[in-house]
């Protein structure tokens, strides 16, 4: 199973090891861990709640992984995204990519993260000293995804 959407934390070392376990053709595993920061847009963050769209989340992550596997020759891809209440320092997301060579593994890992940021239906509600508020999408995420040269997320009515 290459995609998991879950409340529970995950074991980064075990996930990275699993990507090459018993696959002696793998020479490179690139990975990424995203964490809750204690600041966001200058404000102090006490905690956040990640909401998602069950069903669509899994589907969109699987689409992203499928697109990466079409673009690069890969031996394995693993995506884990948490939802629910998380505190600063908590892990949010893991993306790991295994391949023969490092160039493909790095490119595919960054590609999956850029797309996940713009296409996977997650929303962050941050708790700050001023109260809880929904995080606005960052333009830099759209432009990071756009540099991969496919259409950006469609916007009805825009």
């Amino acid at each position: 199973m290459s995609v998991s959407v879950q409340q529970a934390d995950f074991d980064v070392g075990a996930e990275i090891a699993a990507l090459s376990q018993g696959r002696l053709e793998v020479g490179a595993v690139a990975s990424f861990v995203g964490l809750v920061r204690d600041v966001s847009g200058g404000a102090e963050v006490a905690a956040m709640t990640l909401e998602h769209y069950p069903g669509m989340t899994e589907r969109s992550l699987e689409d992203i992984v499928g697109e990466a596997r079409r673009r690069w020759q890969l031996d394995g891809v693993r995506v884990i995204h948490r939802y629910g209440r998380l505190e600063p320092g908590d892990r949010i997301v893991f993306v790991g990519v295994a391949g023969a060579h490092r160039g493909e593994a790095f490119a595919a890992c960054e590609f999956v993260m850029d797309y996940l940021k713009t296409r996977a239906p997650f929303w962050k509600l941050e708790e700050t000293p001023d109260g809880a508020h929904w995080v606005d999408a960052r333009d830099s995420d759209d432009s990071a995804a756009a540099r991969w040269g496919t259409e950006s997320e469609p916007r009805p009515g825009d």
Partner: protein, 84 residues
């Protein structure tokens, strides 16, 4: 001609509901039509008006305004995503 409509995150908070069962009126054939119809409810539903930064999904895939809406569909509206 029933469909299910879902709302997420700040948009759900604004319109005050997470989902509704909806009978498609005649003249509402696309995702864009549906969005305009809902915005016409007025008041808090203005959050769906043209120009507001709202995304849509049809049957759990990102949708364009021109995408058709048909019986049994699950249509979702939400703000731009902020995962990862």
């Amino acid at each position: 001609m029933n469909i299910k409509i879902l709302y997420f995150a700040s948009l759900r908070d604004t319109v005050g509901r997470a989902e509704e069962s909806f009978v498609l009126p005649s003249g509402v054939a696309t995702v864009g039509d549906l969005r305009a119809f809902l915005a016409d409810r007025g008041d808090k539903w203005d959050a769906l008006a043209e120009g507001r930064n709202v995304r849509a999904a049809r049957n759990q895939r990102m949708a364009n305004p021109a995408d058709p809406v048909g019986p049994g569909d699950e249509i979702a509206f939400f703000p731009p995503v902020t995962g990862g």
